[in-house]
C-alpha cells in the first residue's frame, strides 16, 4: 500500500510540474522521479512489502511483478513527458531569442527600421518615392515576423478643415497600410487611426513645423 501511495505522490508531483506554466528546468528537476533519492524510496517501499513475510509467496511474487510493470510503464510515460517538456522549453527559448532579435532589430539605430515616420505634401496622402525604402523595410520586417503588430497613426498640419483633416489622416494611415501589405505584411498585423490635426508634434506655424506634422507614424505595439 505504501508503495502505491508513494507512486501516486510522485505522479501528482510530476503532473503538477507538467501543468505549471513556467516550465523552467529548475522546476522540473525538483519533481524528477528519476532523482536517485526518489528511486531509493521506491525500492525501499518494495522491500518493505517483501519483508511483510507471512503472506502467501505466490501472492507476493505477483504483487511484486505487478508493481514492477507499473513502475516500468510509469518510467516510460515520464520519459515521454520529459522529452515533451524539453521540446517545449527549446521552443520557448527559441521564441525568446526571436523576440530578443526583433527587439534588437527595432532598437538598432540608424537603420531603416528605426525610421518610423512618413511625411506628406499638403492635402496629400501620396507616399513620396524617398520614403519607399522605409516602407519596404517595415513591410519586409512585418512579413518576416508575423506575430508583430503595429499601429499607424495619421496626422495633418493645422491648415484646412479639422474634420477633413481627420479623414485625410485616416486616408494617409490607410494608404501606408496598403503599401506595407504590398511589401508582404498581413492586414491583421496593422491597425490604423487618425488624429487629424488634433495632436501636432510641432507647434510652430512655419512651413518647417507644418511639414513635420503632415505625417504617419508607425508604432510597434509592444513598444508603445
Amino acid at each position: 500500500m505504501t508503495a502505491r501511495i508513494l507512486l501516486l505522490a510522485g505522479l501528482v508531483a510530476v503532473c503538477a510540474g507538467c501543468s505549471s506554466k513556467t516550465k523552467t528546468n529548475a522546476d522540473i528537476e525538483q519533481r524528477d522521479l528519476f532523482d536517485p533519492s526518489n528511486r531509493r524510496s521506491f525500492e525501499q517501499s518494495v522491500e518493505s512489502v517483501e519483508a511483510g513475510g507471512d503472506q502467501n509467496e505466490g501472492d507476493l511474487k505477483a504483487q511484486q511483478d505487478e508493481l514492477k510493470r507499473e513502475f516500468e510503464r510509469e518510467e516510460q510515460r515520464l520519459l515521454e513527458e520529459r522529452s515533451k517538456i524539453d521540446k517545449e522549453n527549446a521552443a520557448i527559448q527559441a521564441e525568446q531569442e526571436r523576440e530578443a532579435e526583433i527587439e534588437r532589430q527595432l532598437a538598432e539605430k540608424n537603420s531603416l527600421l528605426s525610421q518610423r515616420s512618413v511625411f506628406y505634401n499638403f492635402d496629400s496622402s501620396l507616399i513620396q518615392p524617398e520614403y519607399r525604402p522605409i516602407v519596404q523595410a517595415h513591410g519586409d520586417f512585418l512579413s518576416r515576423n508575423p506575430q508583430v503588430r503595429i499601429r499607424i497613426e495619421g496626422n495633418c498640419d493645422d491648415r484646412g478643415s479639422r474634420e477633413y483633416n481627420l479623414a485625410l489622416g485616416q486616408s494617409r494611415a490607410e494608404q501606408l497600410k496598403q503599401a506595407l501589405i504590398l511589401e508582404g505584411a498581413s492586414p491583421d498585423q496593422i491597425d490604423v487611426m487618425s488624429y487629424g490635426a488634433e495632436r501636432p508634434s510641432f507647434f510652430g506655424i512655419n512651413e518647417e513645423s507644418r511639414a513635420k506634422n503632415r505625417r504617419s507614424d508607425l508604432v510597434y505595439i509592444d513598444e508603445s
Binding site: 492635402d123 491648415r159 484646412g160 478643415s161 474634420e163 477633413y164 486616408s171 490607410e174 487618425s194
Partner: protein
C-alpha cells in the same frame, strides 16, 4: 422667472442725463471692430435706465453693445447739457429737435421678493409713437439675459429679423493635455465648461431644440460621436455624454437633421469616408454618399431632404449637395482649390464655408442661387464657420498671437468683431445654438 408683456402709453419716464456709452464694463472680453457705411445704419439713442445701482447702467450698456455689434445700428448719444432729465419719451418734438430718431428709455428696480424688475420703451420719434413696451421680472442672476431680451425686441422691431442676443454658442477650449467643451452666451459672457477629456474634442453641434450637443472625441483610439444633454436656458449640462454607435471605423462630423431625430455622420473605414444618416431611436443607419474618396462634413438642408458635404473626389476638397431620397449629387463650388466646412443658412439661401486661395484660409458665403462666393474675412487661418439662427451673423474660429479666438462677421461682411476668451483660452470650433424658446 416670469415675463410680463406690458404695452402702455400711460407710463411716464424721466430720462436721466446721458452718459457716454462704453462697452468696457459690459463686455470686457469683446473687442469691436466695425466696418460699415455709416449712412446706412439705423440711428438709435439708448438712455441709461432709471433706477438705483450699477444694474440700471449695465442694462443700457448691454443693449447698446448688442445693437452696435450687428453693424446695423449707430448709437447716437445726445448732448447732456440740454436738461434731458426733464424730457419724457413722448416729448417727440423735443427729441426731434435733438435729431433723435429711435429712442430707448427704461427703468430698473429691485423687488421686495428678491427679484429684479426691468422695463423699457422704444419710441419712434418721427412717427410720434411708442412702438414697443416690455417688462420683465426675473432672478437677479438673469440681468444680462433681461438686457439681451430687450435688445432682441428692439432689433426685431427695427430690422424685421429676430435677434440672437439670448442665444448660446458652444466651442472647444484646448488646454495642455486637455480639451473642454464650453457653453457661453452668444456675446461670450458666462462661459461654462460642460465636459472635458484628455482626448481631443472637436465638431460640437447644437441639436435643433438646443437640449443636446453632439461632438466628436476619441474612444479606444478611434474618433467617436457623442451626444450630451444640456439645459439651453442655463447653459449647464444635464446628463452624461453617450456614444452613438460606435460604428466600425472612425466616426465623426455629426450634423443634426432638422427634426432632431437623426444625425448624419462621416464613417471612415478601409480607406474611404462616407456619410451615413443614423436614426437615434434605434441606431439604424442609411448610407447617404458612396465614393472611393473622402466624403465628410455633412450639413442638412432645413427641409431635411438634402445634405451639403465636403468631398475630395476630384482630388481636392470641394462642396457637393446630395439628395437624401435619390442618387443625385451636384458639385456646388468651383472657385478655389479648397472649399470645406459648409453649413447651410436657416433659409437654405446660402452656405457659409471655408475657402482657400493664395495661401490663406478664409470664411465666406456661397449664394445658392447665383453660385457666387463672397469672402468675408481677412485672416490666414479662418475656419469652422457657424451661422446664427437668424442667418445674419457668422461666428468662426481664427487666430491671434498664436492662440485660437472666435470672430464674428455679419453676413453682409460689414460688421466684424472678435471674442477673446477669458484667461487667454485657446478657443476653436464654435457652434451657434438655436433661438431660445419663450
Amino acid at each position: 422667472m416670469s415675463f410680463v408683456l406690458r404695452v402702455s402709453n400711460a407710463l411716464v419716464h424721466t430720462a436721466l442725463i446721458v452718459s457716454i456709452l462704453f462697452f468696457g464694463i459690459a463686455s470686457a472680453q469683446v473687442e469691436i471692430e466695425i466696418i460699415a457705411d455709416e449712412g446706412s445704419k439705423i440711428p438709435i439713442t439708448v438712455l441709461p435706465f432709471g433706477g438705483e445701482g450699477e444694474e440700471a447702467d449695465l442694462i443700457a450698456e448691454i443693449i447698446s453693445a448688442d445693437l452696435t455689434k450687428t453693424g446695423l445700428f449707430s448709437i447716437q448719444d445726445v448732448e447732456t447739457s440740454w436738461g434731458l432729465s426733464k424730457l419724457k419719451g413722448e416729448d417727440f418734438a423735443d427729441w426731434q429737435e435733438r435729431k433723435v430718431q429711435n429712442l430707448v428709455v427704461g427703468k430698473f428696480a429691485k423687488l421686495k421678493d428678491g427679484r429684479i424688475q426691468a422695463s423699457f420703451w422704444l419710441y419712434d420719434i418721427l412717427g410720434q409713437a411708442m412702438s414697443v413696451g416690455y417688462q420683465i421680472k426675473d432672478d437677479p442672476k438673469q440681468l444680462r439675459r433681461t438686457a439681451h431680451h430687450f435688445a432682441d425686441l428692439i432689433y426685431e422691431k427695427l430690422t424685421g429679423d429676430k435677434g440672437v442676443f439670448r442665444t448660446k454658442i458652444a466651442y472647444v477650449v484646448r488646454k495642455t493635455d486637455l480639451s473642454a467643451l464650453v457653453i457661453a452666451d452668444s456675446d461670450g459672457h458666462n462661459p461654462n465648461e460642460i465636459f472635458s477629456s484628455k482626448e481631443p474634442i472637436l465638431s460640437p453641434r447644437w441639436s435643433p431644440t438646443g437640449d443636446q450637443i453632439a461632438f466628436v472625441s476619441f474612444l479606444n483610439r478611434r474618433a467617436a460621436v457623442y451626444v450630451v444633454p444640456v439645459n439651453y436656458q442655463t447653459g449647464r449640462v444635464s446628463g452624461k455624454p453617450e456614444v452613438i454607435g460606435p460604428f466600425p471605423g472612425s466616426n465623426s462630423a455629426p450634423a443634426w437633421s432638422p427634426d432632431g431625430k437623426r444625425l448624419a455622420i462621416a464613417i471612415s473605414k478601409d480607406g474611404r469616408s462616407d456619410i451615413f444618416s443614423v436614426l437615434l431611436s434605434d441606431r439604424s443607419k442609411v448610407q447617404l454618399t458612396n465614393s472611393r474618396s473622402i466624403d465628410t462634413e455633412p450639413s442638412f438642408s432645413h427641409d431635411g431632404k438634402s445634405i451639403v458635404f465636403t468631398s475630395d473626389r476630384t482630388g481636392q476638397p470641394q462642396i457637393y449637395k446630395a439628395s437624401i431620397s435619390q442618387v443625385s449629387e451636384v458639385r456646388l463650388t468651383y472657385a478655389g482649390r479648397y472649399n470645406a466646412s459648409a453649413q447651410l443658412s436657416p433659409d437654405d439661401s446660402f452656405l457659409a464655408l471655408m475657402h482657400y486661395d493664395e495661401g490663406r484660409f478664409n470664411v465666406g458665403t456661397l449664394d445658392m442661387q447665383t453660385g457666387i462666393v463672397q469672402i468675408l474675412t481677412k485672416g490666414t487661418l479662418d475656419q469652422s464657420p457657424s451661422i446664427a439662427p437668424n442667418g445674419k451673423v457668422i461666428v468662426y474660429a481664427s487666430e491671434a498671437n498664436g492662440r485660437g479666438i472666435l470672430r464674428f462677421v455679419s453676413k453682409n461682411g460689414r460688421a466684424k468683431l472678435r471674442y477673446l476668451g477669458p484667461k487667454g483660452d485657446d478657443i476653436r470650433e464654435p457652434s451657434w445654438g438655436p433661438f431660445i424658446k419663450d
